[in-house]
Amino acid sequence: MGVSAAYRLLVAALMGVGLVVGWSVAAVVFRYDGSRPVNVVEVLAVFVVAQLALLMLLGIVLAPARWLRLLPGALTVQEALAWLSPGQTLRLLQRRLPPGVRELVTRTGRPLGSSLPGLGKVRKWAGTFAAQGFAVAFNLGALAGCLYLVTFSDLAFAWSTTLEPSIERVHRWTGWAAAPWGWWLPEAVPSPELIRETLFYRREAAPLAIPAGRWGGWWPFLVACMITYGTLPRVVLLAVAGWRLRVAMRRALLEAPGVALVLDRLENVWVATQATGPEAEPGRVREAGSGDKRKDAHAAPRRLTLVNWGGLVLEEARVSAQIAADWRCEVLGMEAAGGSASLEADAAVVTALARTPEDSGVALLVKGWEPPLLELLDFLRDLRRAGGNRRILMVVPLGLEQAGGRDWQPLPAAGLERWQRRLRSLGDPGLVVRSWPEKPETLAVSGGAA
């Protein structure tokens, strides 16, 4: 059963109970067996004074704390009433229910017990609405009981109280009470004669003291009081509670976690710029062994041909001389390939290099700040094919030049290792990555046998 259905059932049940209780109370209060008239004071105490007192308490409970601070003691009353609440009583009763019923009640009530912001007011007005439903039904039941007895039996009304107020004072009080309807329903306003003639004392033979024509004189006034001070305020409160409950429900929904996001989503278009699918795995560089870094895996060849790959801006003679000095070798010359050179020019360089003695090496001076492209790898493959397997091929990635290309920075170790990893994919044991200048460190490209 949903919370909503359970709540409606609860309200309906409370109203049913209210009708029965109201009728029953009326039957008791208006009970007349001919031995003693119905005491008007009792009727007013039960159906007017008690209801007004409860209305006042209701006002205190519902009033915001800042208002109650203006009324001494009101806050204390409000706090005290909290401990008499049906909410507390319900919980006490709930623990005494049979396990199955208790489980049902707990499950139904769980959403109401949620700590969602805004639900406090929903609970408050839901409770108020249910109780006002009971109260309205109670008053209607009492009215129905009263009218039934008035219509289908002969009631005798009189009034009696130990306080013994004067007739004038009682007339004044009843006049005040009848003010809302007195101007248009004068027969429902007790006259001084009626008040005087219907005063009785229990020690006297009351029925005999009241003139027969006056026996029913009070009922229009009593019914008007029950309607005006009992039923109507409750009907108004029921309407207000129903309205506030709807408002609280709406607000609670709006304040529930996530609702702001949902509303935001409804109010705004959904903008997404991200990729719709996962990214492909990166290409894997073929690993050719475990020896990633070995110093001097290859002795520097005694003779070397340099290749300026990719259009490095450098002074050929100066660089050749410095490399020859640094590596203690003879530099046979410098070719140019890659970059803006044509493929035919590259092929010619390969052919020329293949003609050099097989014990001489080839050192490609490359831009270390650029990544090693497949184009370079193609060139190295062609070179190996044409130049034979015994030839040492060296790739020398240079760091960014300073001062117009006259001085070179050695490539940082991380960059050097990136080059090594990439070139390893060729699986060429005669291929090395070499740092220059300043760091004459040779990195073996392949972990395989040199």
């Binding site: 008499l84 408050k124 990729a275 890659g338 650029e370």
Partner: protein
Amino acid sequence: MSGRPLFAVVGHPNKGKSSIVATLAADDSVRIGPEAGTTTQARRYPMRVDGQELYALVDTPGFQRARRVLHWLRQHERGAHRRAEVVRQFVASHRDTGEFPDECELLEPILEGAGILYVVDGSVPYGPEYEPEMEILRWTGQPSLALVNPIGPADHLAEWQAALGQFFQVVRVFNAVTAEFRKRIELLRAFGELQEPWRGVLAQAVRLLEADRTRTRRLAAHTVAETLAAMLAHRVERKLPARADPTGQKAALESEFRSDLRRLEQRCRDRVETLYSHRRIERQEAGLPLVDEDLFAERTWLVFGLGRRQILAGGALGGAATGAWVDAHLGGLRCLRGGAWGRDRGGDGLVDGGSVGTGAGDGRAAGGRLITAGPTRNRNFPHVVFNRARYHHWLVARRTHAAQSVLAVRGDPRAVLPPLPGEELSTLEKIFDRLRRNPEATAVQGELADRIAAVFARDDDLGDARVDSAAGRRDPPPIANIGA
């Protein structure tokens, strides 16, 4: 071609293509690495508005054998008017050979009609090896724009300007790692200038992205406001027997309280980062300082220390029975005010000494002691939390999705963020006060969120000069803007 703008981000490997895509698409799932060939397949990043694609970026692998491709194209050239056809023929004849996988992959979207965004690194020297790439792109005949992405500190912009200007309609500098939202938007507008039919769509995209940015900022402000409310209301408590010494418990309670606050703040950080589509940020920040000098409150709990059965046995039953009738009439008024089902604060009847008064001298004290940590009363606390959140938001909002550095939420935010005016601080203080009194008041939270959103918006608009000078950084200006 569907007519929707498509932009292929192409270039040499390792020049920041993926970084640019990550930044423009606000997607930190893009794989960015120092190794060449990180991107092996073209990947689309469509801008979708309620599922409808407006435009798309395509990240592509870099050129690997540009000279060979150009050589093939020249061999098959049939006149300048049919060059695009030759490129198409190249892709068709090599698509499945495996000889030019990267070139085929990057040329395909261009042949579908994509505009070309050619990316170079402005911090390394220009080289002639780029020319075959640019020439191939020119052969496609598609509208093009060059982006100079200065990855490193060196400045080679002038030589790039000279070279790129010969091949591309528009040349712009765009630092993918530091570009703020405003610069991303400017670049998108520039994309729209490449072809007349694209202008309207890109203008619409810009409007939507700006609106989305405002919305994101608002949601971030709400998140911070909620967190502040939760932190201001937070407390932890522990029940102790009547004669127990609370001294030993205080350290543990304080630790729990602090870690709770920290967790709330971290959760806020995570949410803000998620709102800005940052899902992989690694943060470093100082711990939440201070909490409160009078962190602890010690109260005596009265009858609530007793069990409910004991309370009832103590004679409360009579009163409750009387009250039940009254209350049924009253209408459950107070009744369900917060705890009909026992979930109210203190609804379990055991805690919240604050609501039952104080002092053991009224003769009712019987249960024990309740020590609580928080809620903090330190007036500075919400300001500290707010300023930390403000600084974090500022860092996250301007962080690009290409940035891979650790997000350091430390240092002095005053170096970059101007202090709030006194009037605004005073307003915030009043809101904090109201939140302290009623942390669940969503209206107050909403008001705070609005204030925070306004501050965030101002922070977003901070001039670059102030920010860059504080960070010791300078983005180079655009070097050319030809034809746009």
